[in-house]
Symmetry: C3
Subunit: 337 residues, 3 copies
Amino acid sequence: MSAAVTVAALCERFGFASNADAGLAISGVQTLARASVTDLSFLANPQYRQAAKASSAGLIIATEADASWLDRPCLISRNPYAGFARVAALFEPRADVLPGIHPSAVIDTRASVDPSASIGPLVTIGARSVIAAGAQIGPGCVIGEDCVVGADTTLVARVTLVKRVRLGARVLIHPGAVLGADGFGLAFDQGAWLKVPQLGGVLIGDDCEIGANTTIDRGALDDTILEADVRLDNQIQIGHNVQIGAHTAIAGCTAIAGSAKIGRYCLIAGGAGVVGHIEICDKVTVAAMSLVTHSIKTPGEYASGTPLQLKQDWRKNAVRFKELDTLARRIRKLPGD
Amino acid sequence: MSAAVTVAALCERFGFASNADAGLAISGVQTLARASVTDLSFLANPQYRQAAKASSAGLIIATEADASWLDRPCLISRNPYAGFARVAALFEPRADVLPGIHPSAVIDTRASVDPSASIGPLVTIGARSVIAAGAQIGPGCVIGEDCVVGADTTLVARVTLVKRVRLGARVLIHPGAVLGADGFGLAFDQGAWLKVPQLGGVLIGDDCEIGANTTIDRGALDDTILEADVRLDNQIQIGHNVQIGAHTAIAGCTAIAGSAKIGRYCLIAGGAGVVGHIEICDKVTVAAMSLVTHSIKTPGEYASGTPLQLKQDWRKNAVRFKELDTLARRIRKLPGD
Amino acid sequence: MSAAVTVAALCERFGFASNADAGLAISGVQTLARASVTDLSFLANPQYRQAAKASSAGLIIATEADASWLDRPCLISRNPYAGFARVAALFEPRADVLPGIHPSAVIDTRASVDPSASIGPLVTIGARSVIAAGAQIGPGCVIGEDCVVGADTTLVARVTLVKRVRLGARVLIHPGAVLGADGFGLAFDQGAWLKVPQLGGVLIGDDCEIGANTTIDRGALDDTILEADVRLDNQIQIGHNVQIGAHTAIAGCTAIAGSAKIGRYCLIAGGAGVVGHIEICDKVTVAAMSLVTHSIKTPGEYASGTPLQLKQDWRKNAVRFKELDTLARRIRKLPGD
């Protein structure tokens, strides 16, 4: 965490231009509304231009056009939000994490832990699992058998890697996430369910982030795969043998059913669903709580659902949904159609 | 857990009136259908009046009108369900929780634990966190850095407070809940995602209840805030910088996206969604699996969605939804409209 | 895990017929696309018939008709997917689990653990809980008070049984699942919420499977009940006093509200919802993300929702949903209707 940093230092480090005094220093970051004269804030969304004008912030990151219009001390960036993210990282409190294995951790003798990795209290690591250099395994994590945790990857706390889970470098996994549990594979036979063994694993690319209480099942025969830089929010369910392309981001509580294949640079909003065994091409956006029931071959924005209404109005319309086909047939029969 | 309690004692303690013998004693609580002569039951929903008439319960909590109609031993309350809740609490088995720190817990030397608090087995507590008087931290909980657990607050088991989480008094959190994980903040820059540091915290008011496997992210700059007496069921997702007003209750599997602001005395049913950056005023009810996509400024009940049908019928109607605008335009052009 | 197994051995063990050489051996299982000459694969779905023709698999499980058409070495089964599940189990790597209690586990002196059970590291077991013969309790599990874990039941890792949870024999529970947390029972009284004690338990029948991060609340007065062979995927929420009939399977992220009763042999897809206090009869199928708002008395397939569209098209139709009743009334008034 920095104490204070000057405009000159920020420009040098991140390549910003600036209209501000090179010696002007900020000691924190804040929202436009709450910033004080020692804080840096940012203007990315045009609807906050008046708030930026009125802000007490000592320094604001803005586009060249906005900086000119604001006519106050600014850092200039083509992507102010990304610029803000980089500066804010300077002020993020860092826990002091020391390399080594906490004495309360239970490590199988056949596991391998790099000396520069940090294994927190009450962690368990199973046979043949490998923890690479610089990895941080926070308190209460359970790592089963045959897992790999890549270099500089962090499991914040209470993460479970069940088995055959391989994580790339710089992956970040939040508490309660479960990777590598059995896929939901069942055969119906003689009046009861028969479990189908789940013999695959999970493969997570570099720079992925996995949210709290998200679950990613391991594959039935092949692996479940996230390519690099996939970003998953909290409470997402990823079924067995799903594949997700690089740079795709998915918001909370979305469920992707088994063997679905999702492209690169997709954005899937919260509470959405994708049924199994379909393909979504690159650069598809899916709206909140929409259900994708068939493959999508054209990039674009997709949605399903109905608008929110007062319940008394909604009820009248919803009941008419049941006669929609009848109504449509009636209209199609009208003269002139 | 009480052995038996008399009508006189219940009336004195909770202010009930009664038509029953003051010395009549009950030794448990049960549903109307399963109650025996030593049990107390309750009649709150009018559709159970016949069940109350037929019940073998020794004593029934009911309104004055229902008690009169039932013409059997009753406790009289304007709110029989609340009255039942109070009596039932007498019969709840209590685990014997002793103050002190279990020897298997791992407590940072810079943390502070009140001597009257109970820290269960295999708990970890990080630097600068404070556990107040009477708090109970159940087995397997992980409390990170800079957290506060208020007086008489209970973390049942395996709860995670990641960092900068401050809980009020008498808060109850169920297993698997994760508070204070990183909000889902990303900036897209040069073809890849850049993480936006999440520098805020989580603030939970007095008397809140947080369900099993519910997640509440910490704020990006400001805090994520639940006012007093907010009640969250299981598997709810609360995004960063959300604010929820006092006495609002939310049922399971609902997701509230980042920076949404929800009023007081709202009731949000299960599986619902609220998109980010909108406001819902006080006393709004949202139906199950409805999606709130815009701010709501008028109290009332809201819903979205379509009714359940046999799939063969649903399919015919659903396909017509895609031509709804065309059909509507056709109708609007009809003579006489 | 088998090294290699012959056609003769497979036929004898599982009752397959075969057109293959009795001495032909396979040493693994694979998808049709990835199988090599030493692998067994399967043909269950007719759309994979060409893939089966082209596969390099040494042996394929198929129906008699498909085996005849394929005209290559096959095991013959009326249910090739179930047959495959049985053979695949031979090749599943098994962790070496030893009976006994890991020294880091914290077991209440009033708990009872069968000597043949395996209690993993960092497990806690509370007062009066009973672990039966052959049970496996994986790392980090928390078992509270008054629980029963039946014979040969497995808690993979980090499972929580809060209190009064009784599991049958051969139950399998995946990481992060929480059984027996308080049901969401609240009475509104004098402007605030009053907690209704949850005095019941959870009863799970033999051969059930419970997915990762799934939650099953305990009952308010009666128990929450899953009959035998119920299969729950990940992140499912089961409210208090729900009853689920034998052999019902539910996919991920579905929520069943309190006191709902679901029949036997039902199939509920992912992301669906069932409101409280309703009954669904046997052999009902519910489509993904559908909401069941009333009791279902006739077996069959049910659905709700609207189809996915390009957002620009969807928006035009969705806004018309709000005038559906008006449109319908207009049509109903047309001459000839």
